[in-house]
């Protein structure tokens, strides 16, 4: 029996969803029970829960670390735990067939991890783990050896830009705020991640909450704020819990409160739960929400850096921006500026999802070609289907087609093809995805999240959605594409805030690159990807049908007929194209054309 054994279980969002809590429970139970037959297991084994490991597609991921030799296991389920303990923990023989393969290493080796560096290694519920990786050293350095102006200068030199979407230089924003004379300044961490298909901020808060707190301390010192807020989505209960836990621990250790690090600087952080409104990601709307109002944006200027929360100068940065700061202060601005592309420095955390083999949370140096992300890190398209497009930036972004696969992923690169970085969601689409449907999906989202304050966004998104809906239902008319483009450009140019200005991006980019799909829907009344049910005809292949009757029972309008054990038939005059028969058939006998 060796001297120290550490077992890490992934308890990020993906890990828990895949059964991480049950695996954890099983380890705890078996370690307790092991006390009887093998006392050393109980004494020498440490069981840790860690945050997101990145490779969510392989969850539950478990590390067994024997004296520093780490073996990583994938797809672990509770019933596999006893063999792991018997063979590896007690017996010292790793269970070879459950270990991760080469692709796990390819996935990680192509990344550059700064923000995600400690995620999956440290226990997010333990401040000691964070202190063990130089935690709070950067804040101490800033407060005890640097002036606020020096901190701002360092952040400026590093080239760090806001990771929430806009990409505004962080140091510059801080200097605008600090330039105001005021009796009170505020700093706010925006953790109201509302994009569909994005879970970067959530994973960082869940996996390393102290890094965000430390970043906020640094920012607060730089602008002179004594009060900070974290505005976090109430739908993220685990992140909220871990944040509260981390705040309490930081306070107990003297990193929050009065006279930090023996200086005269006081700083406290309050948590505000978002009540579910996507528009609150916009700075002025977020401020209104913290003040207890409806979260509606207002015209800028004045910018929050001059007139923000309660009318005082306020800085709002995103979770990832804050999590970068301790590293910049520790390792220096020059080091940070050496990573990334010419105008976009550092790294970006990306939620890589969709029709791709290796879905997960990744971190890449800015400027990495799209191709490398999708095919090296992502492992290519799942099921050997063809790549069609990648959607970046959530509802504010656009779809990037095959022809731009070499595009460098940074703020400028994505903007040059009509998309944007957004908060960093990347959804890969394949040949079975209909681009008109995708465009409609995002419009449904922005239309329902539009706050209604300005007319172009409130009515414009509604009309855009109506046109898209009729196209997908086979009612599209000649001239609809031009109408969509014209209206989309009007909404983009005349909306009050970022939500409305970027809402047309999905429409404009899909028309630009996939106009033929729109035309097929409108002119031929066909959906090439076979997604839009109203444009499809359903029929049953006689040679495949076994006559089980599943489709017949599933059909809500009795359009299917047939004797038991005899091939069934669809009556297309009665069929409402709901697709229930297609879902119900277990023999792939129902086809759509």
């Amino acid at each position: 029996m060796s001297s120290e054994i550490i077992v890490n279980v992934c308890m990020g969002t993906g890990g828990i969803a895949a059964g991480g809590d049950l695996v954890m429970e099983e380890f705890t139970k078996q370690f307790e029970a092991a006390g009887i037959e093998n006392a050393t297991v109980k004494e020498k084994c440490k069981l840790h829960k860690v945050g997101c490991r990145g490779f969510c597609a392989r969850d539950v991921l478990v590390d067994v670390n024997v004296d520093g030799a780490v073996s990583t296991y994938q797809y672990i389920q509770p019933e596999m735990v006893s063999r792991l303990i018997q063979d590896h923990v007690v017996g010292g023989r790793p269970v070879k067939e459950w270990l991760v393969g080469d692709d796990y290493h390819t996935f990680h080796d192509n990344q550059t991890k700064i923000v995600l560096g400690d995620l999956g290694k440290i226990n997010p519920e333990s401040i000691n783990d964070y202190l063990g990786v130089d935690g709070y050293k950067a804040a101490e350095k800033a407060l005890t050896t640097m002036t606020p102006a020096e901190v701002i200068a360092t952040v400026k030199e590093s080239g760090l830009r806001g990771r929430g979407g806009g990409g505004f230089p962080t140091g510059l924003k801080w200097s605008f705020c600090a330039a105001n004379k005021s009796d009170q300044y505020y700093i706010i961490c925006n953790a109201d991640e509302g994009d569909p298909g994005a879970f970067m901020d959530r994973s960082v808060v869940e996996g390393n909450p102290h890094a965000v707190i430390e970043g906020m301390i640094i920012g607060a010192y730089a602008i002179g704020a004594s009060i900070g807020y974290v505005y976090i989505r109430a739908e993220y209960p685990l992140a909220v819990d871990r944040l509260h836990m981390a705040l309490k621990a930081a306070k107990e250790h003297g990193y929050l409160g009065e006279k930090l690090f023996g200086t005269d600087f006081n700083f406290k952080i309050k948590v505000k739960l978002g009540a579910g409104a996507f528009v609150c990601g916009e700075e002025t709307a977020l401020i209104a929400s913290i003040e207890g109002e409806r979260g509606m944006p207002r015209a800028k200027p004045p910018f929050p850096a001059n007139k923000g929360l309660w009318g005082k100068p306020t800085i709002i940065n995103n979770v990832e921006t804050f999590a970068n700061l301790p590293h910049i202060l520790n390792k220096g601005a020059a080091w940070y500026a050496s990573i990334g592309s010419e105008k976009s420095k550092g790294t970006k955390v990306i939620a890589l999802t969709g029709k791709i083999r290796n879905t997960g949370l990744i971190e890449i140096p800015m400027g990495m070609p799209l191709k490398d992300i999708i095919f090296n890190i992502g492992g290519g398209i799942e099921g050997n289907r063809l790549f069609k497009a990648v959607q970046t930036g959530g509802p504010s972004g656009g779809c990037i087609p095959q022809q731009h696969i070499d595009l460098p992923v940074d703020y400028e690169g994505l903007a040059s093809v009509g998309s944007m970085m957004g908060s960093g969601g990347m959804v890969v689409l394949d040949e079975t995805d209909c681009m008109v449907n995708i465009s409609k999906f995002f419009l449904e989202f922005t239309q329902s999240e539009s706050c209604g304050k300005c007319v172009p966004c409130r009515i414009g998104t509604k009309r855009l959605l109506e046109i898209l809906t009729r196209i997908t239902e086979g009612e599209g008319k000649e001239g609809d594409i031009e109408l969509l483009q014209e209206l989309a450009e009007d909404v983009r140019d005349s909306s009050l805030c970022g939500l409305g200005m970027s809402a047309p991006n999905p429409v404009l980019s899909t028309i630009k690159y996939f106009r033929h799909e729109y035309e097929a829907h409108i002119k031929n009344k066909k959906c090439p990807a076979k997604v839009c049910n109203k444009l499809l005809t359903f029929f049953i292949r006689e040679d495949m049908c076994v006559g089980c009757g599943m489709c017949l029972r599933a059909c809500p309008v009795n359009a299917i007929s047939g004797e038991k054990k005899m091939p069934h038939k669809v009556d297309n005059n009665l069929c409402i194209q709901c697709g229930s028969c297609f879902d119900a058939c277990k023999f792939s006998a129902v086809l759509k054309e």
Partner: protein, 151 residues
């Protein structure tokens, strides 16, 4: 009822909380935003009820009707959408016999809700039944899972 509201009032006044926090407290204690509760607070704080309702109707977190015993939340993130969430929703509606404008079953056993993204994209499409996360859901799988919650 009044005792509950008094307790919320005392707590929120002590913390100098705003309307959103007061409403979040009401919802967590009572289950939804009851009209009587809003009127009570309105009189007590001298803030017009319209101000409360402005906030209630703005944020998707607030519910103005009682919700079912089990909450079925279908994730409608991008990945869940392309992997079949819309078909899962229609199946749940059909199975729970919910009409188009209806989200809660007559017997108050289930409420169907949508969420923008739960961040478990690697196992899309995702459905939550109360706290339990179900991954790689298909229309037939969700019907089976719902069975466990029916009386």
């Amino acid at each position: 009822m009044t005792e509950t509201l008094e307790a919320i009032y005392d707590k929120c006044m002590a913390n100098e909380d705003n309307i959103i926090t007061i409403l979040q407290e009401i919802q967590s204690k009572i289950g939804y935003i009851q009209e009587e509760a809003v009127n009570w607070f309105s009189e007590r704080t001298n803030i017009p009820p319209s101000k409360f309702y402005g906030v209630v109707t703005f944020y998707s977190q607030f519910h103005q009707n009682p919700r079912g015993k089990n909450i079925v939340t279908v994730c409608c993130g991008t990945v869940c959408h392309v992997k079949g969430a819309p078909r899962v929703i229609s199946k749940v509606r059909e199975d729970l016999k919910l009409k188009e404008d209806q989200d809660t079953t007559k017997d108050m056993l289930f409420t169907l809700e949508r969420v923008n993204c739960v961040g478990a994209c690697s196992i899309a499409p995702v459905v939550l039944i109360n706290e339990k996360v179900l991954g790689k859901v298909t229309p037939s799988k969700i019907v089976k899972s719902l069975k466990d919650y029916k009386g």
